[in-house]
């Protein structure tokens, strides 16, 4: 392998970390981008559940929006969960500039985007960003639903919340009035959009340091025992039923696009409460033919783009079940609603 970024592996590494590959080099072939996202990190956020308990959350901040978390700060603050979305248009040259101070290592992997090795955010094949800024350069060719997440000690860092939505919008279809929204080029139109990143939380994991287990020792990263089941950062026990960032309110005649992201590690099944979804794309690629279904079984990191056109007014409860990866037992459920007025 020709791309090992540094000598930080083996027994060394920063702090107590092993098999990490620190670096923040210049971007090969750097050009002026069409769009720039500046991401810092936060390591001391929190999420409060409906039962009153909280866990520590880590994530990415938007430095351009004045969020803290730049490499110059201590990055010990909080931030939004999930991390701020990255939204681009197909064909744009995109920069995602990640700043991490020397206390930590993180990367951004734009999941489903397929760039060069240097820009893929996989530390052991390139570098883990620390003590500076690395600018990921990429140009998405396929509209659709993706997500971005950290790829350092990934079981832990993704579980801790280091992910956000990544949406690639299509180029405008000729003849479309301004403001027309489509799932992909010349694809189905929609009026209302929901991004449902469904995830499970094991509070025991949320007390670990960022490098946990990398030098060996049993820190339990093989054994996920989730107690909370969330949709886009909101507790699916009851809050997600009404939280306006998750629950859908639309009017009869409108078309809904649900971007369903399996953001956890265990298999899931999303059921649309009696509504039929026309699944038009998955993993950022249009399906050869739309698939009409009332439910989708998915595993970690799969995405499904679902067009829903209710034919009457009413309220439908959407249910996401989470299954144990070995036994198949239902471990928990998250719920939200589609209300058509």
């Amino acid at each position: 392998m020709g791309m090992n970024g540094g000598g930080g592996g083996g027994g060394g590494g920063m702090g107590n970390a092993c098999y990490v590959y620190p670096g923040a080099p210049a971007t090969p072939g750097f050009v002026t981008p069409d769009v720039l996202f500046q991401r810092g990190i936060y390591m001391n956020g929190s999420m409060r559940f409906d039962d009153g308990n909280s866990v520590t959350i880590w994530g990415f901040t938007d430095l351009a929006a004045g969020g803290g978390g730049g490499a110059g700060g201590d990055q010990m603050g909080g931030g939004s969960f999930p991390s701020p979305a990255i939204r681009v248009t197909e064909g744009q040259i995109v920069h995602t500039a990640l700043s991490v101070n020397m206390m930590w290592m993180h990367t951004i992997h734009h999941h489903g985007i397929e760039p060069s090795t240097e820009n893929d955010g996989v530390g052991h094949l390139s570098w883990d960003v620390t003590g500076g800024t690395y600018t990921y350069q990429w140009r998405p060719l396929h509209a659709g639903t993706y997500f971005y997440h950290c790829h350092v000690n990934t079981p832990l860092h993704a579980e801790m919340g280091m992910y956000g939505a990544l949406i690639v919008d299509p180029k405008p279809t000729p003849g479309d009035p301004a403001g027309t929204k489509r799932a992909f080029y010349n694809g189905p139109k929609y009026d209302v959009e929901a991004i449902w990143a469904c995830d499970e939380i094991d509070p025991n994991w949320h007390t670990l340091p960022w490098y946990a287990g990398t030098c060996g020792g049993d820190v339990g990263l093989n054994n996920l025992n989730p107690r909370y089941f969330i949709i886009t950062g909101v507790d699916g026990a009851s809050s997600a039923l009404t939280n306006p960032a998750v629950a859908v309110n639309m009017t009869l005649g409108q078309t809904l696009l649900v971007r369903y992201i399996c953001a956890g590690f265990y298999p899931q099944k999303i059921s649309f409460g009696g509504l039929t979804a026309s699944v038009v794309a998955s993993d950022g690629r249009p399906l050869p033919a739309a698939w009409n279904t009332g439910a989708i079984e998915a595993h970690s990191a799969e995405r499904y783009d679902c067009i829903i056109k209710p034919t009457s007014r009413g309220t439908w409860t959407v249910t996401v079940q989470f299954f144990h990866w070995r036994t198949g037992a239902v471990l928990g459920t998250a719920k939200t609603r589609i209300t058509v007025a």
Binding site: H124, P288, H299
Partner: protein, 340 residues
């Protein structure tokens, strides 16, 4: 106890994995043939990345080998499989070739093979059975998890580049056989104590190995590192469309995730999909789930400036599978995708 043929896996045990040309080689024949093979049920230990020694069993190429998974078998429709299984252990085992589709009866079953005994199965493959198969031991519900499993590819008669007659074509093919190891199970079998009723796997393998990151002992050693093993690694140049026959011998369902290219999803549990979806994650079920997909080896579409070379991972996205012994991220079921 099961001491006969007690072997130490490792460089020697896995040497046969890397003695071939790297990928499965296959030249179609115009006439059917008899494929004769002898498998030896052997046992021994395999050292996990954290140094823990785990007792495993395999369908091996000789009584001195311990092959987990077994060396793949490739044949074509119309061929006759003549497989002799020699049980070198003291307890009863068996050998079955699972059916093509979920719910199908096995293609063939040996019945009990007593300790020290042997059996020969003979099976002539009818037309319509082209596809990917797992052979395994189902004498107990857990023998398959100990390592008694392997892959069988039945090619369509006369074809070297199709999964089934009329399928999308490929130029190379390989197996990814996944397993999940709970050493408490293996230890109970080794010592004849009560087998647990619940398992928590601690090691996760692809073709019998884990990935080893830069800096680790054994890094880049094809006899140890799943990233470097040419029978596991997905290596090619642009255009080298590669069929991957994914077989889940383990306890857990998995999310198979490739970087750099989406996969063309051809089958799920032996059933041909109605249309080909392009996916960067495929849901590989447990309970002997399987998937066939083609990795197209197109230039990574989103690179700017464009590239045609690089290293990328295939890893399971259920990230617990990327650990060993409860930690050690990067020592799990992962391999290297090499754009040469």
């Amino acid at each position: 106890m099961e001491r006969r043929g007690f072997l130490k896996a490792g460089t020697a045990g896995f040497a046969s994995l890397v003695s071939g040309a790297g990928l499965l080689t296959w030249a179609p024949r115009s006439e059917a043939a008899t494929i004769s093979k002898t498998l030896y049920i052997t046992a021994g230990t395999h050292t996990m990345p954290d140094g823990v020694s785990v007792y495993i069993k395999g369908f091996s190429d000789s009584s001195a080998d311990l092959n987990v998974p077994a060396t793949p078998i490739v044949c074509q429709e119309g061929d006759t499989l003549e497989i002799t299984i020699i049980n070198r252990l003291a307890v009863t085992h068996n050998f079955v070739i699972g059916g093509l589709k979920a719910g199908d009866p096995p293609l063939v079953s040996s019945g009990d093979i007593a300790g020290g005994g042997s059996k020969t199965i003979t099976y002539t493959i009818p037309t319509g059975k082209a596809g990917s198969y797992l052979f395994y031991d189902n004498k107990t519900s857990y023998n398959v998890f100990l390592g008694l499993h392997g892959g069988l590819a039945i090619m369509p008669a006369g074809s070297s580049n199709q999964l089934y007659s009329g399928s999308p074509t490929f130029v190379k093919q390989l197996f990814w056989v996944f397993n999940d190891i709970d050493p408490a199970l293996n230890s109970a079998v080794q010592h004849g104590t009560t087998v647990p009723t619940s398992f928590t796997p601690r090691y996760f393998t692809i073709n019998g190995q884990t990935s080893l990151p830069p800096g680790a002992v054994g890094f880049d050693d094809p006899t140890r590192d799943a990233m470097a093993n040419p029978e596991t690694q997905l290596a090619g140049s642009v255009g080298d469309r590669t069929l991957i026959r994914m077989l889940n011998a383990g306890m857990c369902s998995h999310a198979v995730h490739t970087h750099a290219n989406h996969m063309e999803w051809l089958t799920d549990r032996g059933t041909v999909r109605g249309s080909v979806w392009k996916k960067d994650v495929l849901y590989l079920r447990n309970q002997l789930g399987k998937i066939d997909a083609i990795y197209p080896f197109e230039a990574p579409p989103d690179a700017y400036p464009p590239v045609t070379t690089g290293h990328f991972p295939m890893h399971l996205h259920d990230e617990m599978s990327q650990t060993a012994g409860g930690g050690m991220y990067l020592f799990g079921a992962m391999t290297d995708i090499v754009f040469k």
